[in-house]
Subunit: 197 residues, 2 copies
């Protein structure tokens, strides 16, 4: 089953790259290092990934894909309830981000110097911006959210989440981040939710 | 006036380091590079800074000091008004952060591997957390802010600001960030401000 073996090799390369990037950093890790860690030939590597950067992008997309699935799965009766339960995803995001922080930081560094990487970094921001904007519009239609500029309200949700993840990753013992995230969203909802609904 | 000349040399070293870090990156910049750019001897360099890391810390502290002065200067009649006018500082923060973004990212990278750097990164977070917590407590005393957990409300303000600065720096043309910041704070204040005050 060559198809299955191909998938397995691709996964081994991704795991090896994640480990090497986290330990030694993105710049200091060569394709040779990744091949040695994964136990694959350079030919097999380049069959799956054209460049080291392509692995970086695949790892990021995998992480964002997990967050997406989690967000789609949590859909409660009303939009304010949905937004509050989404904060339950944050501990998992923190845990996954903690290992990958050095990698993401290096990625951002590259983004400030490389157009392809920049686009890959900006795309998920805009994706989450659209996701929450649509959710808030749904809330206004169902009457659970007050009339607001959905774009701006979505921006607040995204900024709050980004800020919380960043601080949670930098300072894991600085606060009970799960509780802080839930209560933060509650304060935001106090301003957004329609109490007469 | 040796005192004055010392200050002038220190400033020249800081300017040279900022320029070099932004262009070539922190890791790739040596003390020799900074001395050449500043036109100072290595002796003069080490008279002012024990290590390259000390320069990094001084540059960050200088930037945070500017933000602090700005925040202290903007104090309006009520706490909600003060918080909304603080968003006027953000364009300046964006402008200063944009040049320094690669440097901060490298600094964060170091923080994930070095205890001294980590403490220097975490200190301002906790400082702003305390600043806004106290401001929100003042608001509850004056009656302009609803009874809330001041720690959590401060966390929301800090996370929102961090998230906005990060996105504004990454994607300067993705939104009108000044307007977005003001309207975001307004949405937050809808949940925090006491309308009966």
């Amino acid at each position: 089953m060559p198809q299955q073996r191909g998938e397995e090799t691709r996964g081994r390369i991704l795991d090896a790259a994640l480990k090497k990037f986290a330990m030694a950093g993105y710049d200091a890790t060569s394709v040779d290092d990744i091949c040695a860690e994964a136990g694959v030939s350079k030919g097999a590597f380049y069959h799956h990934f054209p460049t080291k950067q392509a692995i970086f992008l695949a790892l990021m997309q995998g992480w964002l894909g997990m967050i997406d699935m989690g967000m789609e799965a949590i859909r409660k009766d009303t939009v304010p309830e949905s937004l509050i339960s989404m904060t339950n995803l944050l501990p998992g995001v923190f845990a996954a981000a903690e290992n990958r922080l050095p990698m993401f930081l290096e990625f951002w560094l590259q983004a400030s110097r490389d157009e392809t990487v920049w686009k890959a970094i900006i795309a998920p921001y805009r994706h989450y911006q659209d996701f929450f904007s649509k959710l808030i519009q749904d809330g206004m239609v169902e009457g659970s959210i007050k009339p607001v500029d959905a774009q701006v309200a979505a921006q607040v949700v995204v900024s709050l989440a980004v800020g919380l993840v960043l601080q949670g990753v930098l300072d894991p013992h600085g606060a009970d981040w799960e509780k802080t995230a839930r209560e933060s969203m509650q304060i935001l909802m106090n301003g957004l939710a329609n109490k007469t609904a």
